[in-house]
Amino acid sequence: MSSVLPRDARRPASGGGPAVSRGFRATSMRQWGAAVAFVLVMLLVPLVASTFHLSVLTLIFLFAFVGVAWNLMMGFAGQLSLGHALYFGAGAYLVAILAERYGITPWLGLPLSFALGAALGCIVGALGFRFAVRGVYFALLTIAFAEFARIVFEHWGFVGRTGGFFLKALGPDNVPLLSLRGDSLFFYYALLMSLVGAWALAALLVRSPIGYRWRALRDDEDAARALGVRAFRMKLLVAAVSGGLTAIAGGWFGLIGGSLFPDSVFGMRISIEMILAPVIGGMGTLFGPILGAFLVIPLNEVSRDLAQSLGINGLNLLLYGVLLMAVIIVAPGGCWPWLARRLRLSDAGNR
């Protein structure tokens, strides 16, 4: 964080016309201020929170993390992926298999999962983008890849088929900082730091020339290309970064839970759950996915408890649906732009 902040503080001073970007500058500072304040609060939360609350917050961070990754692709570059489970599952299995079968630390496994997710993103992206598969058809292609992976893993003996793949229970000699597995407090901080890292990477990319090109592609691909935006290259780049980050999130998911099933990491359901936070929080905004995760995950927890005590299965899905409809009606751009206007944190260019 600290290495990011001065860079941004410096940037507006070097550019901008006379009357231009003054608002941008002030808003930008307020946004960074808000981000720093958020992280500071979150660093102190474990002092007062219970183990249960910590694990819910960890889940929030995880889904905010994948939300940030998915949002880069859809919210900023306009490429609808409904098959991000492909990257999530690939990362989850890779990290777990390396740790369990080959004794390779997740310190290496997580970066490797980024590379794997990025490579998969490039493959899916290259197929889609090269043959100009756009919009809904691209989304269908991404689903097909994720489903293909699920079916392969359900029949692959090496990873335990549908029976699942399990990490050994932690022994007394476990060193969390080596195995990257530990108690809820460890995972809380690990995921908070990962989220900060992913968010900072997203923020840097979005505010760089690359981000401008992504947004141009999102708004109008033909117009963007006429302005010299190398569409194929830019889309491949966003697919790689988004896929890579999502794979890291998958890796953490496996380390936290200790067990992986093809359906739970490659299934349609996880693909959909991944996109709820950015959609509800606000696509194409840096803070939207994080706010969205803070809304969606607790709602999921509460509604699941409620569903169990009332004996109504699927109540949480119903509540999800209602929440989604409410957001679409009340704040079509998502909750963050709505909230940011009230907190005076938004500006048009930098939503």
């Binding site: 940037r11 070097s14 550019g15 901008g16 016309g17 006379p18 009357a19 231009v20 970007s21 608002g23 941008f24 505010r207 760089s208 020339p209 401008y212 090109r213 947004r215 141009a216 999102r218 708004d219 109008d220 033909d222 117009a223 963007a224 290309r225 006429a226 302005l227 010299g228 935006v229 190398r230 569409a231 194409g284 500006d347 048009a348 260019g349 939503r351």
Partner: protein
């Protein structure tokens, strides 16, 4: 010296020949106008030159190099910029950011691109609206933005598709002045225009398209006096009024 050489350009859409064996040259540093009635094939010719469509036949040479088959983004980096007749602002971005996307072509640093874009917006008369979301602009302002975006890529050949349509005379005059200043900087301009007042005032050469064919080409005064052109385009239009 010729900057753009169009030879036997033909585009067929299932059964319809939109552009039919059209040849013309654009001189470096000149302003050339492409005129003709609606449906004459002007915009299709533009799409072909800018790489948005692939010709069925013919060749297009830019600065001596064949450019048929190149993508729009390649052509943009080679120095050809174009506007769209139906304006295409990037609606999720501010006016300034719209222009910055184009400016990033030759000014890879954000600060630099921002300065280029701000300067252009000021010159074209949109300076006060730089930080407004592009979606809030009126149609005339969107036309101005479309021109600013194309200019921001710092083209050597600028192709403008009816950028004056719908502008007030004072705005059209300002755009004309900006175009002149870029022409004086060495930018070649090829434009599609219906506003004959503008065409006659700024073009050194006029190419008349009719039913996809190049009906006539030459200096504005000669074109205005050409009986075929009066018959097929100017005259008919005058009668309508």
């Amino acid at each position: 010296m010729t900057i753009l050489e169009v030879r036997n350009l033909t585009k067929r859409f299932a059964g319809l020949v939109a552009v039919d064996d059209v040849s013309f040259d654009v001189e470096k540093g000149s302003i050339t106008a492409l005129i003709g009635p609606n449906g004459a094939g002007k915009t299709t010719a533009f799409h072909l030159i800018a790489g948005a469509l692939t010709p069925s036949e013919g060749s297009i040479r830019f600065e001596g190099r064949e450019i048929v088959g190149r993508t729009p983004e390649e052509l943009c980096s080679m120095g050809i910029a174009r506007t769209f007749q139906i304006v295409r602002p990037l609606l999720g971005m501010t006016v300034l950011e719209n222009v910055m996307v184009g400016a990033l072509n030759r000014a890879p640093k954000l600060a630099e691109a921002r300065a280029v874009a701000a300067d252009l917006l000021h010159r074209i008369g949109l300076g006060a609206k730089a930080d407004a979301p592009a979606s809030t602009l009126t149609l005339p302002d969107r036309k101005l933005l479309e021109t600013a975006k194309a200019l921001a890529t710092r083209p050597r050949l600028l192709m403008l598709d009816e950028v004056m349509a719908g502008l007030r005379p004072s705005e059209a005059d300002r755009v004309t002045a900006v175009l002149h200043s870029f022409r004086d900087d060495g930018v070649t301009i090829l434009l599609i225009e219906h506003v004959m007042r503008v065409v006659m005032a700024i073009a050194q050469k006029v190419v008349v398209l009719h039913h996809g064919k190049a009906l006539a080409q030459g200096a504005p005064a000669a074109i205005a006096a050409d009986p075929r052109v009066i018959e097929s385009y100017l005259g008919r239009k005058a009668e309508r009024r």
